[in-house]
Amino acid sequence: MNSRESYLNLASEIEMVNELLNKVPENHVIERNSLQARLSNLNMHFENVHFQNFPRKAKLTFRGSPVLASHGISTDFAGMVAQRFTDAVKAIVAGLEGNLNYMGRLPGKECRDLLITGIARGSFGFEIEVSNDDHNESSSDLFDGLNETEFAIDKMQSLFEKSLAGDDDTLAELVDEIHPRAIKKTKEFLESVSERGATCAMEFNNRSFRFKNDDELKISIDRLSDNNIREDHRQLDGEIFGALPKSRTFEFKITGQDIIKGKIGLSIEDPDILNREYLHRVSTITVVETKVGQGRPRYVLNALPEIKE
């Protein structure tokens, strides 16, 4: 048994046979014996299966000009969007791992984390399976039980949703987690869909999302563009008011102004150092300030403060 669907079908069949046994009269011994034997066989298979080891599948489907109903899809469109989707996922993974630079080759480009394992019908598209090779306990603790690639796909779906319907602050929170280059790669994926007169939909991890038309796609593309998501590096004078190492957040009182809150980037390996060595000491910090639309700015601290005392 090598798929989540097969496992779920097996579980469903076991339930069905149990229901049949509840209905078939006790004196129908021959029929009951057959169903009992079948149930024993199914339970034996079921006991040997570990659900959490099955890779999760994403379904990515398309409608519009390059797609012929549920019959087929233009090969050059399919190839292009598959590549752009993969690039976006890999960029998000790299961003989450702190390995993404603003330019240059995407890290892990040769890594085969995503497989096209089938056709998704309804409209037309792909079933994409996420390799389970890097699913270990530490990564699943960090990413809510998903491995890094699954988490990236989940974030990408959230990005579709929030860029279409979320407010600026909600989108900003998501942008905060994902490297700007990964945002750009996601936008490029959506652009490649829109440019060919198509729309797309995605299902993953029990959630589904669909762009109903090109107008919705363009809204998302616009909200993910450089014009709407602005990132600046700023130097701020003041003092560290505290850091929470587990959640990787900090507070900084700007001289003569309010306290700002922000995230501590992965480049600061030991966030608690801010409490031990920089607390309430006059210093200058360099932060990445991100603003989405008219939303509140968000801050990320990627380097230790410079003491001014």
């Binding site: 079908n9 049949l20 209905k23 078939v24 004196n27 129908h28 011994v29 021959i30 034997a37 079948r38």
Partner: protein
Amino acid sequence: MEEIEVNEDRPPNDIDVVTFFELPQSETQETFDPKFSRLNDPVSTKKEFYVDAYSHVLGEPTKQYDVEVISYWYSMWAHCRNGVWKGFLQIDLNCEEDRRARKCLSAIISERRQS
């Protein structure tokens, strides 16, 4: 039935058989079962004949659960667990056909032994 040799690059492990039959006159399922159980136990039929054997009794008033059970057996071999269609053969219980089949199989076995 499916081309398991093509689909999964392996020979089949067994044949799945559901026998639909009417009880002999004046028998009930309870009285007939001891005489029939050897052919209705897939563990032993698989071991002896490479057949996963199940049964359902016909000729009695049809109840709702009969429809559900028959639908279940149909559904089990209409598709693989991954949703791909496959099919099944309906073969009547017939002693004359059994003799012909046995003769045919004997000829095949004999031919293979010679080659």
